[in-house]
Each structure stands twice: as C-alpha cells, then as structure tokens.
Symmetry: C2
Subunit: 232 residues, 2 copies
Amino acid sequence: MAVKYDKAVVLLSGGLDSATTLALAKEQATTVLALSFDYGQRHVCELDAAKEIARTQNVSHRILSVSLKTIGGSALTADSIAVPKDGDTEKGASAIPVTYVPARNTIFLCYALAIAEVESCSAIYLGVNALDYSGYPDCRPEYIERFQALADIATKGAIEGAPVVIEAPLIALTKAEIIKTGVALGVDYSLTISCYDPDEEGAACGACDSCRLRKQGFQEAGVADPTRYIES
Amino acid sequence: MAVKYDKAVVLLSGGLDSATTLALAKEQATTVLALSFDYGQRHVCELDAAKEIARTQNVSHRILSVSLKTIGGSALTADSIAVPKDGDTEKGASAIPVTYVPARNTIFLCYALAIAEVESCSAIYLGVNALDYSGYPDCRPEYIERFQALADIATKGAIEGAPVVIEAPLIALTKAEIIKTGVALGVDYSLTISCYDPDEEGAACGACDSCRLRKQGFQEAGVADPTRYIES
C-alpha cells in the first residue's frame, strides 16, 4: 500500500474494527497517533485493550476524558438501561438500538479534528462500517461524507488550504472481510474487545449484538475465534 | 415573535452575544435549557457570568466539563500563548488569530446535539456572528449550513424524522445591532464578560480584540457601556 499521509490520527476503541483500522492506517501514514476516549462507558476494559493494541502495534496513544456519561441516554453509558442480549434488541420505529450513544461518533470525530489540527495530522481514520452497522445513524457513508464537508471548512487548516481527510477504510467491508484484512496485517485479535457487556476481566458475554456479529465474522472468515468468552 | 419550538438548547458562554441569543431563544421556544462548557479557558469568570445570566433570565443551566485544555493550541486555553492586545493580533497567512480554539464550536455543537437528543429539544441556538467574527472559520454562515447538513442525518432523532434545527440568529448582525436587540429584550449587559484576558474579578482589559469590538458596539448603538474595565 502506498503512503498517503505524513501523519494521521486513528480513533482506537479497543475493538476489532478499530484495531484493524489502526493496522491499515500504519500502512498509509508515516506517523500514526492513536486516540481513545474515556467516556464513562460500561465496558471500560476496552481502554486497557486499546492501550495494549497501541503498544503492540508500536504507535503513540492518547486517552481523552469526555463527559458523555453526564449526557446519558444510552445503554452503553447509563446504568439504568440494560444491554440487550440474544438478538432481542428493542429498536423502536427507527431500528436504532438502545446501545446507540447520542452523537458519540460526532463528538469523537470533533475531538480528533481538534487533535489533528494541533498535531498537524492530515487524516483521521475511523473504523465504522456500514454493512454491520446495527442501525447506528453515524456509521453510514453519507454521515462520513457530511462530516468531511464540515471538516473542509471548519478549521484553521482547512481555511489555509489543507483540510483534514476523513478515512473510513472499513466502511464497505463485512466483518469477515475486516478480519481477513487484519489477519493479513498481523493484527492480534485476542487483544481486542467488542462485547457491550464484558465481565471485569474483559471476557465477552457472547450474546450481545456486538458479540454475535464478531462470532459470525470469525466463522465466515474461516479464522479461529480468539475471543475469551465468559464461561457459563 | 412567534413560538417556533417546544424546547431548545442555548449555548451560553457568558458573553454579550450568547446572552442576547438566550433572550431571543426565550421568545421562540417554550422551554429553554442553557448550556455552558468548562473547557480550561483562561477566562473562567465567564462561567460565573453565564450562571448569573441564566439565573436572571430564569432558565435552567448545565455546565459540562470538556477537555479542550489537553488539546491545547490556542491562546485561550494554553498558558504559553499570549492574548494579543491593542489590535496587534498575529493572524498569519489565513488571518485567523491565535485566540482561535481548534474545533471549539464544532465540539460544543456536538455536545449540544447530544443534549438536544437526550432532552428532546428541537433546536440549538448559538450566538456566532459573521460580521464581527474576527476571522474564526467556525463562525461563518457556510459553517452553520454544513453543521446543519450533518445534524440532519447524524442522530437517532434525525433518522426518525425530527432533525435538530441549528439557529444562529445573530449571524448577519453587527455588534451594535446585537446590543440594540438585547436592550429591547431587557438583557443586562453588565452581567456579561467578553474580554479574552479579564482580571480575577472579571474586569475587562479593554484592549483585546473582543473588548475592542464590544466597546465599539456600544458606541455605535448609542448605548451606555456597562462594562467594568480594569482601572489603569
């Protein structure tokens, strides 16, 4: 793969998709800065996973504290809303599950935009993908296009002729294709956590939407699933 | 003025523009929620001003802590960059001053979008204006248009057919017109702080770009300037 950027920011959640995105970004940018958020998520062991992924992929890593928990409104941040299991997700009229966190990707992208500006990065990589997107509004191609349109004029760098490019390299891939891509790049998926409701040691529940998509992805890719599941 | 919205969020910085915007929003929305940010700003007395403005205008008020200081890159958040005085602003090639905070309005709008979604608000008011905008990229009409385009598809509410409307009622007004509008609505400008470099009691320096625009505004509006300046 040809190098496209001198320096890039990568949003790293600690999950399978972002770990793969980080590996792809390393192919396309000379220097990579991984960025994670401590946003009051239930699954805070994600952050430990992100640290370990950044360490093993040998990139610098920053964790920003952002106050999404005080906003509430999601099963992933509010203790009062349960994570749906075994495909019983209550999606309502819009087919958007309760695990949707209001404006989360938008807030993360904005912080990444600020960091990119201060650190002179020319691209932001994020691991959203449209096929497996579970109905989240901020994981669709048109969402990325509109954020790009905003970024094209929102910053000092943009005005000076160098807008930040938003790269979503997984956007059109299936989970199986993502896994195959990552395996080819040497990603260690045993370090990643996708579960919405893991135990304190980071073992996956195996039953939430995210676990189900991940399991199916490994099966379809023909790759052994290295996930540590909670023993039942 | 006709009521347009059941409930709206208003970004309240504690300055002259946002205090006027709050008064305008109260005319157009039945319920108003004022939102301020503690972002490591030098001029933290702004937040006390915001509290007092919300109290006297009789609206509920939330302050969110956001970590812009850890991002740095601006004279308003980094102690190492001085606030320019007496019009000697170093603007560089792009005419954007060092008081520009990377992606600040974008980050604030994203949080407002999240709050609007959780609190079922149908509009977000913010007090940006294009004529006096000092060269900030995120205070222009096209910026608001592109943020609106993003908001139109970014949230659960948007997907369900009720996107949040971004209202920037001051966008085309001069500082003098803003002051006249606020005076007509009973805004007490003695409570507001516009200075980028006030003293600890909130007295204004009278010399930074923001003080100069404000002073000139009161003069042009023919309104007595209630600002408390640092005695020299």
